[in-house]
Symmetry: C2
Subunit: 296 residues, 2 copies
Amino acid sequence: MPKKPKRLSPGGHIRLLAPAGIVDLQKVHRTQELLTRDGYTVSQGAHLFATHEIFAGDDQSRAQDLLDALSDPGVDAIFFARGGYGSVRLLPHLDRTDLSVVAPKCLLGYSDITVLHAYFQSRYDWVTFHGPVGESDWLLADTRIALAVLSGMQQSWDAQLEVFNPVLERIVAPWRGGNLTVLTSLVGTPYIPDLAGCVLFLEEVNEAPYRIDRMLRQLLLAGCLSRIQGIVWGEAVSCGPEANGFSVRTVLREVARALGVPCWYGFPAGHGLRNWTIPLGQKLRIDGNQVVVVSA
Amino acid sequence: MPKKPKRLSPGGHIRLLAPAGIVDLQKVHRTQELLTRDGYTVSQGAHLFATHEIFAGDDQSRAQDLLDALSDPGVDAIFFARGGYGSVRLLPHLDRTDLSVVAPKCLLGYSDITVLHAYFQSRYDWVTFHGPVGESDWLLADTRIALAVLSGMQQSWDAQLEVFNPVLERIVAPWRGGNLTVLTSLVGTPYIPDLAGCVLFLEEVNEAPYRIDRMLRQLLLAGCLSRIQGIVWGEAVSCGPEANGFSVRTVLREVARALGVPCWYGFPAGHGLRNWTIPLGQKLRIDGNQVVVVSA
């Protein structure tokens, strides 16, 4: 059974952390104000606004901020302030601490944060939350869904989805994944989560269809997809199409057929304006256009 | 001992093949004319000018062209007409034929062709040639070095190289590698060549330093670099730098130090105007600015 963090309600304590790229002070301040106004207690990691090369502080400092937040019993949730690049550089540092004795907390983020979703799923089987970051616009309704999901108020999503290779109408399975580029950058390492029995959730930004094909081929040839139950594709922002209509849809149709699994396309999560929060690692039922949390 | 193809001399038979992207007919015709004028016999793969989506024919056809050329005793060398993307899609097709009984031929190309270098090294321990493709400008002296290397006339290269982490002055080892993005796309699959005891040769185009860092981290975390002897970096075309001077050099310096190996930077091979041909899989000695083939 995956380990679910306790729900985050107003009054709960949110820690803002920067595990990767340098964060925008103004954007994060605005988010902090909005969350505070909503009744949350919001604190900052020690290096939230640090800069080192292209990172929010050196690897050791960013890892320590995350370990501090995880081991602080007063912190209920960790909202990652930004993706960018750099979360993967924390993993060898995180590996030095055994977190199996720590109670899981709500972890929220996407894009480069896919590394941390993968880490806490592969190492500790935690349920984590794929959704906006601290730099996201928290005035948007679709961003504020995060708080409804983390509190347990929202447990279903109705989306307009296309289906490729519809060999199954519904699937009940944990969803794992995140950003395709970031997930694929973990193939061959100890940190790629086990996708057997799962629905693979993916989204992408600024990658041409041929690159998306290359990444899916790597996952395929590495055996990572051999027992997945299905694919849900979120946003594909600035991802082609290329010459001769070769598109993300072309690629997904072919991969779904090769695997003999259905693929739902267009779930509003990822780098678009809409970034609905979903729990990763927890069982969800997808049935037509509806996705519902299946209670344990 | 790696399997070396027999040398290619004028009069030898060169087959032009397109294993990946759609090729430019005029560029390839010009190369064919120049090679013919030099006294070579030049033939074309059946699907050299085919088009399917973004590929030079479907996967099966491109794989068959390669298998046909390999099994034809009249063909001495295979010059790949273009990289682009798509060589990786041939591998499951190639795997259906046992090529261990086939005499190795000179295989020449770079960029996406890195997949085929990796394949013939990991599966059959062939020496293959990292150098220009059929679409390259064969009027350039640096392209025509390919013919001198394939004939055995040229066995050394003098380059102006920077050195990072100079813990060794010289290394005698086989070089393996190619394009970083393409090599990294094989991590976790059966097709990544064993780099233990090797010098890792890399080049890149159009990838930001943070992406180069991400790929090298994947190779590191997957254990692919744990026993390499050194790194030689070729061209880095349109690869940054990024904010705060974070550059390919920054990344390589840190990786070389982490591994405790030297890194030579600036060997003129890859996507720049200069693309010197080097044998991969064969022992080379690198000593200061000089690289020399070590005869078996």
